[in-house]
């Protein structure tokens, strides 16, 4: 609020610099008055914008203070001449500003997004000293890295190691909240240690940072949740219930910034789990666990060394519990908080970004900017021939080269400035949809810092795009021009060709990338997941006892619905994101027992039918075999190779676990992607649930020709039987697809940027072709007189560009290949790079070129040679 109380300083300074002193006070006062009015009306951004706009709109001859006659008149003269030139060459000005402007708009958008991605978790004052302790778990059959560690680490490490100042655990939980006689399912609840707010600088609006989490029966709400529960009432001191335990609101927080890796809607003291989950030994468990543990290290601690020390220390503890003799161990490592978002890819982590995608976008941004600059250089040098007479005359009259260079730089500066203004307006226009696509709600476009960036961008581009043409054009020797023996055309053509090749290369790379991405997305959409997800509705009741008491009634009632094929209760909610794994003993191919960590699903007898799993050997659990619940196990195909069994049939009868909980494999199902295509298929064991009290959700397989009707029927049955638990159902198909949102978004953003840069490329080509044909207009005339047809002339002009495309194709192919391999690598299951795409892309570039060039060339070819040749 404070900051926006004053209009942008730089704009103010600019005004003070240019304005005549006798006009300044009144003008500045007027701008402040408007500004104040808009701020009062609540339009902060608009006020800032309009202030800047006003300052520029009043930059007019009558307001400008001409301080020292000499240099300013000169500069003013340059501006005047530049304005005239820009007005005179309408076509190339439009091509230039539109090309540069849209390129810059893309650049700015990517800049905004990258800025977010690279600045995660930077708002914590002690951020440089905060680390997360994660680990790599090893057993005899496997090894994987995961984010959560045993709960004892967070409880005890800070007492044991002096270099750890504080340690705090964060646990995710979803609970049913009972407040004001209403039930809500909340998945954004976090269980945290009482010192959480001493380590992290999340903003507390009300309550005491140091004590708010001391009483286990307290809760801190974020603003949004407080509003949902209590409206505008002050929530402090209010109470709500979680699973029958009453909690008092002791604090109110701001919603965590978007760029926070730790997201939450409410904080609950971790110690509540002693009551909530009957987890009395929480501070003593070194292994397992689902808590993320954060450490605040003292100044100058070596995190790698500390990781080793912790590994050694906990290794000893676990050895006492017999871990070593079963071949299992943890290796701990510390991740700097700020690097987690982009550089961490662990099991059971919160959703993260990906450095590779950030890098790809940075590359795209630079390419787009480069393309736009190249366009400018191309057009400017192509026009050089028209300008050489001007340069010659100026030199004869006595202009120095330095002045000429300055003149052209001023011209570039003007065009770049116009482009930047176009770009910023474009960005402002598309920002809402960009926010939707990227999932970020707050992009700050017009901060002081960004404006400084934009200004330096103008300067940089002026130099990048303007210096080369300025130097080239001003080089012309006056005598040659005056004598009229300036060779027309071939000047700088090599340079121009090189630039066009660069541009084509980028275009071809982008075209290939688009093709590969579409291919991969089609692959994702059509990949057989090994299970039938169409028509599956998952009703998540989060394991509430009211439902568990009614399992049989529910199963019967739901199965009776006409459209329902199967109804199955399970321990997980499907699709499962983050299947839990646990360790067990497994019989290997040679008959020995090893200890292995394996993914575990706990389900009932209808599960394979509900998800359409295919049995490739044996049978699934059945109610006809009551002993299944204690003696049987079903595994997936991946187990066979993992444990060194011979084949599918060999798997039947293999032993899992140890006495008295020994189980034998009764069936093998074909591999299925329970988590979607990001994750590799791993060995999975499927266990029957022995007790209704393990179920957390109901999976319904139904005929969904009318999904709404089925959904409504299920809801009404649900409400009738268990009114106290909210009906939380979703279509499995949609849930699976939702995890690819980021891929779809990435593709659509990339697509838009590519199309824009291709359009920019075409604009440049068009400009170039125009200059090219204008130069050869007489040649064309003579050829026509001598009998050339329109077709022959078009071929002749197009030919110039065709071999440039071939060269571009050769350069582009390896670049596109490397880029796309990197991108495809994000997916565990992906298509292979199809070399035919290069052909398609080249063909596409070829057609684009011919169309672009021919638009102009056709007109020239049709022209009456008499008109063209007359004035020789």
């Amino acid at each position: 609020m404070k900051e926006s109380a004053n209009p942008p300083k730089w704009a103010n300074r600019f005004l003070e610099w240019y304005c005549k002193p006798e006009l300044l006070e009144d003008l500045q006062g007027a701008f402040y008055e408007y500004y104040h009015e808009r701020i009062t009306a609540g339009f902060y951004n608009k006020a800032k914008w309009m202030f800047i706009l006003d300052v520029f709109m009043h930059f007019r001859p009558y307001t400008i203070n001409i301080k020292s006659q000499n240099s300013n008149t000169m500069l003013l003269g340059h501006f005047k001449v530049s304005f005239r030139n820009i007005r005179k060459q309408k076509l190339s000005t439009i091509l230039n500003t539109v090309g540069l402007g849209s390129g810059l708009a893309c650049f700015i958008l990517i800049f905004l997004w990258v800025n977010k991605e690279l600045n995660y978790d930077t708002f914590h004052e002690k951020g440089d000293r905060i680390y997360r302790i994660s680990n790599t778990f090893k057993s005899e059959s496997e090894s994987f890295s995961q984010a959560p560690s045993g709960p004892a680490l967070g409880a005890q490490l800070d007492d044991i190691f002096s270099e750890i100042e504080e340690s705090a655990r964060v646990g995710h939980t979803s609970e049913r909240v009972f407040v004001n006689n209403e039930y809500f399912f909340e998945s954004g609840l976090r269980l945290v240690d009482h010192n959480f707010l001493r380590i992290f600088d999340f903003k507390l609006l009300a309550g005491n940072r140091n004590t708010a989490l001391n009483d286990p029966q307290s809760i801190i709400l974020t603003e949004s949740l407080a509003k949902k529960y209590f409206g505008d009432k002050n929530p402090i001191g209010e109470s709500l219930e979680i699973d029958g335990i009453e909690l008092t609101v002791t604090g109110l927080m701001e919603v965590p910034p978007e760029t926070s890796q730790i997201q939450f809607e409410a904080l609950i003291p971790l110690m509540i789990v002693k009551q909530l989950w009957d987890f009395e030994s929480i501070d003593e468990e070194w292994g397992g666990g689902s808590f993320l543990t954060y450490l605040l290290l003292s100044e100058g601690t070596d995190p790698d060394q500390l990781g080793h020390d912790i590994t050694a220390f906990i290794g000893e503890k676990l050895a006492l519990e017999g871990w070593a003799e079963r071949g299992m161990s943890y290796e701990y490592f510390l991740q700097p908080l700020k690097s987690i978002h982009l550089n961490s890819n662990l099991r059971y982590d919160t959703p993260n970004g990906d450095m590779r995608i950030v890098l790809i976008f940075i590359a795209v941004a630079i390419v787009i900017l480069l393309l736009a600059c190249i366009n400018y250089v191309n057009l400017a040098t192509a026009n050089a021939i028209n300008r050489s007479k001007e340069v010659g005359i100026r030199k004869v009259i006595g202009a120095e080269r330095r002045q000429l260079v300055l003149q052209y730089l001023v011209e570039s500066f003007l065009i770049v400035s116009i482009s930047v203004i176009i770009a910023i307006s474009l960005v402002g226009l598309v920002l809402p949809s960009f926010q939707e696509i990227t999932g970020y709600e707050h992009f700050e476009l017009l901060t002081i810092r960004n404006l400084i960036y934009f200004l330096s961008l103008i300067v940089l581009l002026t130099i990048m795009a303007g210096l080369l043409p300025a130097l080239l054009i001003s080089k012309v020797a006056a005598i040659k021009v005056i004598k009229g023996n300036l060779k027309s055309g071939s000047q700088y053509s090599l340079l121009r060709k090189a630039l066009v090749v660069t541009q084509f290369t980028a275009t071809v790379v982008l075209l290939i990338s688009i093709l590969v991405m579409n291919d991969q997305i089609a692959f994702i959409e059509n990949k057989d997941l090994g299970m039938k997800t169409d028509g599956v509705i998952n009703i998540d009741f989060h394991g509430h006892d009211e439902v568990r008491d009614q399992v049989d009634v529910l199963r019967q009632r739901v199965s009776q619905l006409p459209q329902v094929n199967h109804a199955s209760f399970a321990y997980n909610s499907y699709p499962v994101f983050g299947v839990s794994n646990s360790t067990t003993d497994v019989e290997t191919g040679d008959g020995t027992m090893i200890t292995s960590s394996i993914y575990t699903l706990r389900v009932d007898q209808d599960f394979s039918n509900a998800l359409g799993l295919e049995l490739i050997a044996g049978r699934f659990f059945s109610r006809d075999f009551p002993s299944d619940t204690t003696e049987s196990i079903v595994i997936n195909e991946a187990c066979i190779q993992n444990f060194g069994w011979k084949d599918v049939e060999d798997a039947i009868g293999k032993k899992f676990g140890r006495e008295p909980y020994l189980r034998k494999v009764i069936g093998v199902v074909r591999d299925f992607n329970i988590e979607g295509l990001y994750k590799k298929i791993e060995p999975v064991r499927i266990l029957p649930v022995s007790n209704d009290y393990y179920y957390t959700s109901l999976i319904v397989n139904a005929d969904l020709s009318n999904p709404k009707a089925v959904y409504d029927q299920l809801e009404s049955v649900w409400k009738e039987i268990i009114p106290a638990v909210p009906f939380d159902a979703s279509f499995m198909n949609e849930d699976l697809k939702n995890q690819y949102t980021i891929v779809y978004n990435f593709q659509s953003i990339f697509m838009v940027f590519s199309v824009i840069s291709i359009v920019i490329g075409c604009l440049g080509l068009f400009g170039l072709a125009t200059a090219n044909t204008n130069r050869r207009i007489r040649e064309v005339g003579i050829r026509k007189v001598l009998g050339a047809s329109v077709y022959e002339i078009l071929t002749m002009i197009n030919k110039d560009f065709l071999y440039l495309i071939i060269i571009s194709g050769i350069v582009a192919s390896p670049v596109a290949y490397l880029l796309m391999e990197e991108w495809l690598d994000i997916f565990t299951y992906h298509v292979s790079f199809d070399w035919f795409f290069i052909l398609y892309a080249l063909l596409g570039a070829l057609i684009l070129t011919i169309i672009t060039v021919s638009i102009k060339a056709y007109k020239t070819a049709l022209a009456n040679p008499a008109h063209v040749l007359k004035d020789e």
Binding site: A30, E33, Y34, E37, M57, H58
Partner: protein, 110 residues
């Protein structure tokens, strides 16, 4: 200088200066114009117009009082000059004459 001809916009601005002498500074004039014409009126246009009127000698100006929302800056208050009043009257007489002609014609028609 192109003489003291009044443009249409200048005439409107000048009329407001006369009509609202207490509020005759650029921001208020722009708002009043917006209110009367119903069109969007940009401050820079009004300000340029006022400075032209000043140059032609049709208005006089002096610095007025300062207000808080202007960051303590004074506003330039405009008032019509004798020449300005003459120019306005001239413009009005031209119009009156033309309207009189139109009215006669329409009477003749009916």
């Amino acid at each position: 200088m192109k003489g003291t001809n009044l443009g249409e916009f200048e005439e409107l601005v000048l009329l407001i200066v006369v009509a609202k002498p207490d509020d005759a500074y650029s921001v208020a004039i722009a708002k009043e114009l917006e209110r009367i014409t119903g069109r969007k009126v940009v401050h820079s246009v009004v300000h340029a117009s006022l400075s032209r009127l000043l140059k032609k000698g049709l208005v006089d100006s002096k610095m007025g009082e300062a207000t808080a929302e202007r960051g303590g800056r004074r506003k330039r208050m405009y008032s019509i000059s004798a020449a300005g009043r003459k120019a306005l009257e001239l413009a009005k007489s031209h119009r009156d004459m033309l309207w009189a002609m139109i009215n006669e014609q329409s009477v003749a028609k009916t």
